[in-house]
Assembly symmetry: C2
Homo-oligomer: 196 residues x 2
C-alpha cells in the first residue's frame, strides 16, 4: 500500500518540477509565484508544500539536474580515445541536442542560477568552473597535438557554450530551420573555427 502512495507522490512531484521549469523560464524565478505554479498544476498554493520543501528547492533540482547531465557526459568523453577535435565535436552535439530536448531546464539553469541559496550557489558555480576547465583541458591537449590552432582555450570554451545557449532564440522563433540542420550548421561554424 505504501508503494502506490509513494508512486503517486513522486509523479506529482515531478509534474510540479517540470511545470516550475516552464514557469521560471517564462517569468524568471523571482517573478514567478507559487500561487501561479499551483494554478498551473491544478491545486491550491498550500498543497504544493506537501511535495516540495519550498520555492528554492525547485530551482536547486532544476539546476543540478542539468549540471549532473553535463558532468556525466564530460566524464564519458574523457575516457574515450578519440582525437581532441572529435571529443569537442561530440560535446558540442551533446549540448545542442540537450538544449533542444531539455530546453526549459537548461534555460532556467543558465539564466536563473543567481537566485540559488548557499550552499547550492557556491556548489553549482564550482561545478560549472570545473566543467569548463575540463573542456579547456581537451582543447589545450588538441593544441599541443597540433589538431587545434593556437588559441586561448578558455575563450574557446566560453564561445562554444554560449553559442549553444543561443538556440534559445531559434527555439522562440518557431524554427524555420530544423533541429538537425541547426546542429550541422553550428558544428560547422564552431569546429572549423578551431581547426588549424
Amino acid at each position: 500500500m505504501g508503494r502506490i502512495k509513494t508512486s503517486d507522490t513522486t509523479s506529482r512531484r515531478e509534474i510540479i518540477i517540470q511545470k516550475a521549469a516552464t514557469l521560471f523560464k517564462e517569468k524568471g524565478f523571482k517573478a514567478a509565484s507559487m500561487r501561479e505554479l499551483a494554478d498551473i498544476v491544478g491545486v491550491e498554493a498550500a498543497s504544493l508544500y506537501n511535495h516540495i520543501k519550498n520555492k528554492n528547492e525547485l530551482l536547486n533540482i532544476i539546476c543540478f539536474d542539468v549540471a549532473n547531465r553535463y558532468m556525466q557526459m564530460i566524464a564519458e568523453i574523457e575516457t574515450e580515445k578519440n582525437s581532441s577535435l572529435e571529443k569537442i565535436e561530440k560535446l558540442l552535439r551533446f549540448h545542442i541536442t540537450g538544449m533542444v530536448k531539455h530546453f526549459d531546464e537548461v534555460y532556467v539553469s543558465d539564466r536563473e542560477w543567481k537566485h540559488l541559496e548557499e550552499p547550492y550557489l557556491a556548489n553549482l558555480q564550482a561545478q560549472r568552473r570545473a566543467y569548463r576547465k575540463r573542456i579547456a583541458a581537451i582543447i589545450d591537449d588538441g593544441i599541443k597535438k597540433k589538431e587545434i590552432k593556437k588559441i586561448d582555450a578558455s575563450t574557446a570554451v566560453l564561445i562554444m557554450l554560449h553559442a549553444v545557449s543561443g538556440i534559445e532564440s531559434w527555439h522562440r522563433s518557431k524554427a524555420k530551420i530544423n533541429g538537425k540542420e541547426l546542429e550541422e550548421n553550428m558544428v560547422s561554424i564552431l569546429v572549423s573555427g578551431l581547426k588549424k
Copy 2:
C-alpha cells in the same frame, strides 16, 4: 538659474540609471528593490521618484540605450564598402568592446528584457529581430559573393551574438587574459568559422 537646477537633476538621474544597471545585473530586475537602489544612491526610496517615473522606466532606458547603439553601428557598417567578411569582423569587434565597456547595461538588456512592459517589450523585440536580420543579410551577401561558406545565416548570427555575451563569464573571472587578447581570440575563432 534654471540651468544649474536642470544640470544637477540630469546628473543625479544619470547616477540613478547607472547604479540601477549595476544592481539589476547583480540581483536581477525583479529581485532588486527600489529601497536598495535608494540606499546605494544615498537617498530615501521616495526621493528616487523625483528623478524617474518608476522602476520600469529604468529598465526601458537601459535596454533602449543598448539597442540604439547597435542600430547606429549596423547602419554605419552597411554604408561602408568593405567585403562582407570585413563588415562582420567590424561588427564583432564592436560587440566585444561594447560588452567590455558597457558591461552592466548590455548584461541587463540581454537577460532582463522580459520584464519590460508593453509597448516597450514588443518594440525592443522588433528592434532586435530587425537587427539580426540586417546582420544575416550581410552574411547572405557574403555567401552569394563566395566570401563566406554556405551556412544558414541566421544560425551564424545567433552564434556570434551569443558567443560575445559569453564575455560575461570572462568579466566575472577577473580576466586572466586581457581585453585585446580576448578580442583577437574571439575574432579568430568566429571569423575563421565563416571562411570558405
